[in-house]
Subunit: 184 residues, 2 copies
């Protein structure tokens, strides 16, 4: 990996602002300060604030997608392979539930709901993937919903259980995907 470009540094800083101070505090000035340059500099790389958020969303999507593909490779073959990869991705510290990337979603919804569109597109793709190799699409769908729930809870700052319980839950879900090759 080459050293992060200025563009990347700005996105990092913007994510950090959302995480630490909330979406409302995400200003060009603040992002600039975090990235170590001036607002003018930020506006050189991103023409508008919406553009910056687009960049954040793109980062979110790429990061999650890359992660999911990596986990897919690591998972053994067999039914529910994509679903298993999704579970691993969700609980990964760099996954969608991570503070580091999730700000993008929040920012996009808060500022301009049109900016969610690329997420929706990728989202459809993910769902399609998971359905493709799941003997019970319903079970896979349920678990997919739950993974979203987990991610969103983290983003919103709602805690439903401590970390120990989370690991148990992860294992429980993975067991479900082993034990029920052809449920229904």
């Amino acid at each position: 990996m080459s050293p992060p470009t200025t563009r990347d540094k700005i996105i990092d800083a913007a994510m950090a602002v959302v995480r630490e101070q909330g979406v409302a505090k995400l200003t060009l000035d603040e992002a600039a300060k975090g990235a170590g340059l001036s607002k003018g500099g930020v506006l050189y790389h991103f023409k508008t604030k919406d553009d910056l958020i687009r960049g954040m969303v793109e980062r979110l999507i790429n990061q999650c997608d890359k992660l999911q593909l990596a986990y897919y490779d690591k998972e053994p073959e067999g039914p529910y392979r994509w679903a298993r990869a999704m579970v691993q991705t969700t609980f990964d510290p760099n996954g969608p539930a991570s503070d580091k990337v999730s700000g993008a979603l929040l920012a996009s919804v808060a500022v301009n709901s049109e900016l969610v569109a690329p997420i929706q597109a990728k989202y459809d793709e993910w769902i399609e993937r998971i359905r493709s190799d799941s003997p019970s699409p319903m079970l896979a769908g349920l678990i997919g919903m739950a993974m979203d729930g987990y991610s969103f809870e983290r983003i919103m700052g709602l805690k439903l259980c401590d970390e120990e319980d989370e690991m148990k839950m992860k294992q429980y879900i993975l067991d479900l995907l082993k034990a029920e090759p052809t449920h229904e």
Copy 2:
């Protein structure tokens, strides 16, 4: 039900703004316009904007709680009664996935993350409830996460399937809660 108070009308209008224009557009002026009065009028009822959001959050909590209790009464006795009530609540058109109430959560997170606190408190209570009568707390927890996922997806404007599939999913989940009285 007595006719809605001005206070209620303001909250309704604020919710509508969040729903239709996004959190960023939620201003005192806009909420006032929606409620049919001036900003001064709004500020008479809510001393600050945070105060208004607190009101929205309170509304969200009360509405969901009331709904859940009502469904609990309607559900037949037996295991997973609270979990079943939660599923019904989630899919209810006035439930947490409803456009009409969900804006509160978004607004609170976006504007001032401290305002989420009352939600977290209620949230803990709901989780406790569900665990209390679930033979498999893991299954109940999974379904709870999925219900959150569904609600949040709606709030964010992400669609995972059409309405027909949603109803199938609801039925699938309710069947799970019948078929597995003592899973694990």
